[in-house]
Symmetry: C2
Subunit: 343 residues, 2 copies
Amino acid sequence: MLTERQARILEFVISEYVENASPVASQYIGEKYPVGASSATIRNEMAELEEQGYLNQPHTSSGRVPTDRGYRFFVETLMHEEDLSWDAQQTIRHQFHQVEHGQADWTQLAAAVLAQAVHNVALVTEPRTDACRIKHLQLVSLHDYSALLVLVLDESRLKQHMLTLDEICTQDQLSATANRLNQQFAGFSAAQLVASDPQIAPTELLVMDAVIEIMSSIDAGSFDDAHLEGLRNVLSQPEFSDSEHVLGLLELLSESNISRSIPLRSLAGGGVTVIIGADNPALPQANEAMRACSVVVASYGSTGDASGALAVVGPTRMHYSHTISTVRYLASVMSELLAEHYE
Amino acid sequence: MLTERQARILEFVISEYVENASPVASQYIGEKYPVGASSATIRNEMAELEEQGYLNQPHTSSGRVPTDRGYRFFVETLMHEEDLSWDAQQTIRHQFHQVEHGQADWTQLAAAVLAQAVHNVALVTEPRTDACRIKHLQLVSLHDYSALLVLVLDESRLKQHMLTLDEICTQDQLSATANRLNQQFAGFSAAQLVASDPQIAPTELLVMDAVIEIMSSIDAGSFDDAHLEGLRNVLSQPEFSDSEHVLGLLELLSESNISRSIPLRSLAGGGVTVIIGADNPALPQANEAMRACSVVVASYGSTGDASGALAVVGPTRMHYSHTISTVRYLASVMSELLAEHYE
DNA sequence: TTTAGCAGTCTCCACGGGAGAGTGCTAAAC
DNA sequence: GTTTAGCACTCTCCCGTGGAGACTGCTAAA
């Protein structure tokens, strides 16, 4: 158990280390923060904090550095979680203004806004339901025997697919086909499509096969299609000053590996979740670079309905309070937006 | 002017340096390559090559390193440009097989294939015409007062936009509207839309305003929407072992800066263009990191019709012959594909 | 329990010397 | 005239050394 004073010192050390990224000395703490004790006393307390696993010394006779456990304690009990400043809120709202003007791929924008606000890597997934449903489909003639299938799913997700037809079709014929299929199948999920055994023409069957394939692959593939922004922010941090680490992180965050390193999908809970360094449950499979990183995740949307996730990835030495409140605020803004635009 | 032997030595030095990334010694060349002269002679020739600006010494008494001029001479006169090996061609064709199965966003795929083939960064832009034309438009009801506008342009480019309507519309009404507009405006360019002064209802006007805006912004914005792949390849090269360079390159290639650093659009010419290091005309505005990079660019598609660009970016020390033939081959494959699928 | 003081330890940096790599030059050989 | 062997010279790289500086841990006094 930590005494009041030890907790305060831990807080000061973390605050200082987050700022400067170099080990924190007892004397420095004594001078800069109102501990009300000499450096020798602080030294004793720090030794105690180290014994309990909250701090660490890179080498004998250097200052202290917070451990994962230290950060965790800070986040769970020390940190006073404040609402995002009104200024910051305005900045975010302002940047989202473009959405009002019809920008449809707003998850990308959200990732960029988040990355800029927290100066780290941001991930935002598209909103999705358990099983996506057809909102609308359209066929556009490209060539004698080929057509473009445009599929609008719930949450305005757009998918395109090229079809090779078995007979020549005019645009009018294709439109008519699309209309028939819309009448029949609007609102269906992939499972419902498979279950239904409709009487339809061969061409229509060809279209619906493609539709089912697309929708099934979306339902199966999870959050792999997260937008990523702000790589530069995190690569310029001192912990990645050596290029070996940079490559590790880059691999970690490369499109194909994200879902393996960061368990976005397992975080259905309402609030903001913080994963600190080696606590990451995905670590065994993940890259070693993950050990030096923390992740702040939240979901947006409503759990029953469509929902997605947003996350911030950065070094364990991150400004947790600010990051958490930003993520929370952005999640609420995005939930609003989702409700407003898609009901 | 270079003698026969000097040219051969230059070729050997470049070949060696491309392979090993460390200064090349005269003795080493003599042992490994069939120069037919002693190291002392080679040394004399190298001194001459240095005097003429083809080679450089990092410091007195170290081996030689090719200069930009050396690379340029190599690319322009020394290099025997071979066709891509049949194996490599097959690999590329095989990877493109997915396109046959309907994958519509194949420029992304092309970038990935190219990046992997040349072990560097690859950029591929979407194909585009001078002025894009409407192929098809569709309205999908989202909410009482909001609808999604889905716009299919030539080359199957898909754009979406959210509309706020001034009256409640059912999906049937929206479909009818879309049909009317398709009848009237299919094949129109933005300029033609503006010029035409049709008699249409307020709701339709609202739609067409959005269409015009989207199309104009596409016509104005150039190749900014290039797909980028293979960052890791180039960041793991020894020239970027120190993280300062990494950041420079990252900034260079970040979405917003690409068009400034690499003049893709100015390369309308049919063949493959090679920009070596400081030769880059965009250098003054571009990042300093560009000085250490070469770019191999080609266009695909037909010049009058739709066309796009593909490029490889890597350190000046790159395998030019392989890169050039790969870019050329991929450009031809993509041109074929474009012709085949969209006529 | 706190604190002043001090010895001890570890990093960091600058300096220096030796090994090694590779060149330039010179003088002899072809 | 061209080529080559030989050698001195230069520069990097690595390693060990040693002093300055930063902090700590410990001890003994307040």
